[in-house]
Amino acid sequence: MRKNHLPGSLGIVLLLTLLLSGCRKDDRASRWDVDVLAPLVTGRFTIRDLVADSLLVVDADGSVRLVYESNLFDVGLDTLFAAPDTEFVYSYALPFPGPINFPAGLQLLDIADNSRFDLDGVELRRLDLREGLLRIRTRNMVQSALLGRFELGGATFPEGGNTLNTSAGPGTPQAPTVTTFTRDLSGTRLDLRGPLFNSFNTLSSLISTQLDPAGSGATITDQDSIIITVDYIGLVPQYAKGSFGRRVVEQQGQDLPLDLFRNIVDGTLDLEQVRLSLNIENGVGMDLQLDLQRFTAVNSRSGTTVDLTHAILDGPINLNRAIDLGTGPQPSYYSNELDQDDSNIDTFLEVLPDRIDYDVVLRINPLGDISNGNDFLYYESRLKADLELEVPLRLTANALTLETLVQPDLPGSAEGHALQSGELTVLGTNGFPFDARLELALVDTTGAVLSSIPVSGSLQAGILGPDRTVVQARNSEARATVSPEQLDLLYQGRQLRLRAIFNTVDQVEHVRLLEHYALDVRITARANYLVNGDE
């Protein structure tokens, strides 16, 4: 921003004004009104003030295209697969009253178990864990220390091996000893085919417990017992392979906010050309079918809606499964492009939507387990759909209205303020092929107009040449007169609503917007100011 200074003479004037108003009675200083005339703001309005730089693409001839990209949906691991926390319990108790003296080193428990995980229709043969915990809790009521061994037959820890050793101190039925052992399963690979490699979701394990060989044995009755609880907690797959079943995921009533036209509150826009691309990436090792059932442009302000019509909405989109590279998925891609010739995408966009409502149905393995249990999923696997909207800015605008609400931080208060009334002059050098008319109004918090500020004049469009581009900018001005009553309203906290209403100079043929088009604006004020009026 350019650095500006108000002339120092004004400082002198301010100073002398203060000095001359120094004599006062009680707390009140003399007041008098002065007519101040000064520039307020200078600035340049370009297409980049209307549309973010990141959305604009400039062609070699200076034409501007609006390219807007947005993510329609992104389905990840949590939607496609979840491994719930699972608990298995093993116990030992004397089957008769006893007591019996057991020597040191005696093996009390020796269980071979095939733990089965309930995965809601998913039949996994292999599960590599990214995160997760194995917690073994031993509750010992025997009067001897216990040594435990926990062997996961189908597991391979990252450092190799699959056996865990635990121990628990002596206890009694009245005061059992509880010992908890925890193992981080990150990086652990689980073979869920069971001991015969012909099953799924099954992890074979061997649990054994013996009295401490270094101890003195124990006298055991039927009141003494050993309970071992094994918990698999927070399992997050890095890789899963098996059959993920045939499922349907419905996403109804989804909405996609669209802030392209957020400042436009009224008017119509006619676009010469619009292109919309739907790009889908399938990083999941499953056959998928996407059914885009509804795609509706919604202008919340006007209540207008337009349903998109295109073949893409008439039938499902089949998505090939990704390829398992061993280290990650190689996604498959789908792309379809819509334009004004094969769809109503131009009308769809010309309602100036602030959101898009859509319904989508995702079918997983619609033809069943045709991969014979070779579906797969990586942690990084995604099913995502992106929209890419491209609009060359060749258009006609009819009363296209931009609105901004301002609540200026004015000096003084509602009870006393120096600004009494004024006239704002907007001096413009317009290089756009639009006429710009200004509307100013004071509105309440609901947007209801309390008072309109009359504006005379408009900023006239630049002059078009034979190639229908602006060859000469035009100077013009608009003036807005703010009455004392309207200033009072502003001081009472009302908002100032500024509307700029654009009309292309030609309402029949589309005009092209070039990057260098600019509207140079200078706003000056002629204000009646009451010295000491802020006090």
């Binding site: 006062r24 520039p39 600035g43 309005f45 931080d409 000096p411």
Partner: protein
């Protein structure tokens, strides 16, 4: 300012000043011979060569200034190269003791405590119009704002010295406590206002100095200094009638304003087209706050101690004692304030009986034109004397005159 106004009222007691635009009255020998004397004195004076009294009167009272009132002074300024105005007020208590050396010396001790403020300014007609009407009336042209200057000093003094009981010559050393100082000196300044306010353009060569802005009342000690006051009178023996010549100075000294004082010097040519904004639709940027304004105006001050001469007064006078108690006096006075012209005052006075005296004066110069004044004194009994002087009688005729002042005093012989 309330205290200033209160002081003006409280010092509705004044003693006749022996110099300046006040009427010179013959001394009262009966009271002057008292062993101890206590004087409570006060005076104020406002004067201008152009600005009508109604304007400062309204400012003093805090009344609103309507356009007609402001326009009258503007009309009075029209055609002049400059307008000057100034004011001053003083309250003083003085004790004078018995003659030294057990009455054998001609010198008497004296102690004096005074509170005072003096201000003067010089402005151009365009600057007046700019302040009181705004810059809109200068649309499309340049307002000449210089040369201009303003100085205001408020201070108190405590002085000790000796007085010659025969000639009333005296010398007094003053300790000065500075309460406030404002000094603006604009060597060059103009302001061009473009049509429709498209641009403001200015060239400025100016300086500004202010004492500690945290406060300026009498209790503030924003600076310390010293000054010398004195008067020397001698009889001219060659004259046919008793004639006297005197010179004097009051508060010839300085104040060293403390390190919290602020100063600013501007020597620049600037152009303002408006605050440049990135997005003209963002009107929140139009109105800027005080801090931004200070930055934009370049009014960030530098702090630091400064030493500055007091607005001292100096005078030269001549008087002749005529027959039948008549006295004629002629005096020239100067005050060290911006654009103060030496002021000449002619007085004619006469004793009335053994207790009173009255006189009239005509002055020219200072901050205004011709002043026509009158004064009188009356002693009640042996001890109490009341004196009063009005240097500008016409000033009481209404607001559309220029200049106003008063002197009031009570003197007690102990």
């Amino acid at each position: 300012m309330n205290k200033r106004c209160s002081l003006l009222l409280a010092t509705g007691l004044a003693v006749l000043c022996a110099h300046g635009q006040w009427t010179q009255l013959p001394p009262d020998a009966a009271q002057d011979s008292a062993r101890h004397m206590l004087r409570i004195e006060g005076r104020f004076l406002y004067n201008s060569n152009a600005v009508l009294n109604e304007l400062p009167a309204h400012l003093l009272r805090g009344d609103d200034l309507d356009r007609e009132l402001r326009q009258r002074s503007s009309d009075a300024l029209a055609g002049r190269a400059r307008a000057v105005f100034g004011y001053g007020y003083l309250g003083r208590v003085t004790w004078t003791g018995t003659r030294l050396q057990q009455g054998r010396s001609r010198w008497r001790p004296t102690i004096s405590l005074a509170l005072q403020e003096h201000a003067g300014a010089r402005i151009t007609p365009d600057l007046y119009d700019l302040v009181f009407f705004g810059n809109a009336r200068f649309e499309g042209r340049t307002a000449a704002l210089a040369p201009a200057a303003y100085e205001q000093v408020r201070y108190s003094t405590l002085g000790i010295g000796v007085v010659d009981h025969r000639t009333r010559s005296f010398a007094r050393l003053e300790l000065v406590q500075g309460a406030s100082l404002t000094a603006v000196d604009v060597d060059w300044a103009d302001l061009y206002t473009g049509v429709d306010g498209r641009v403001l353009r200015s060239a400025v060569l100016a300086s500004y100095l202010n004492s500690d802005t945290a406060g300026s009342d009498w209790t503030r000690n924003n600076g310390l200094g010293a000054a010398l006051s004195g008067r020397w009178e001698s009889r001219i023996r060659a004259a046919a009638r008793p004639a006297y010549f005197s010179v004097g100075v009051e508060d010839l000294g300085f104040v060293h304003w403390n390190a919290n004082s602020v100063g600013l010097e501007k020597d620049t040519v600037v152009r303002f087209d408006g605050v440049a904004v990135d997005n003209v639709l963002d009107l929140d940027a139009i109105l800027i706050g005080e801090e931004q304004l200070l930055d934009t105006l370049g009014l960030r001050y530098r702090t630091g101690a400064r030493t500055r001469i007091l607005p001292f007064r100096a005078h030269v006078s001549y008087r002749i004692d005529g027959r039948s108690g008549w006295r004629f006096g002629l005096e020239a006075q100067y005050q060290h304030l911006p654009s103060y012209l030496p002021q000449l005052t002619a007085s004619l006075a006469r004793r009335v009986g053994g207790r009173g005296a009255w006189g009239a004066s005509v002055s020219y110069g200072g901050y205004g034109g011709v002043l026509v004044g009158a004064g009188g004194r009356y002693r009640v009994g042996r001890r109490f004397t009341v004196e009063a002087s009005l240097p500008q009688l016409i000033g009481f005729a209404g607001g559309r005159t220029r200049g106003l002042g008063a002197l009031l005093a009570v003197q007690v012989a102990l």
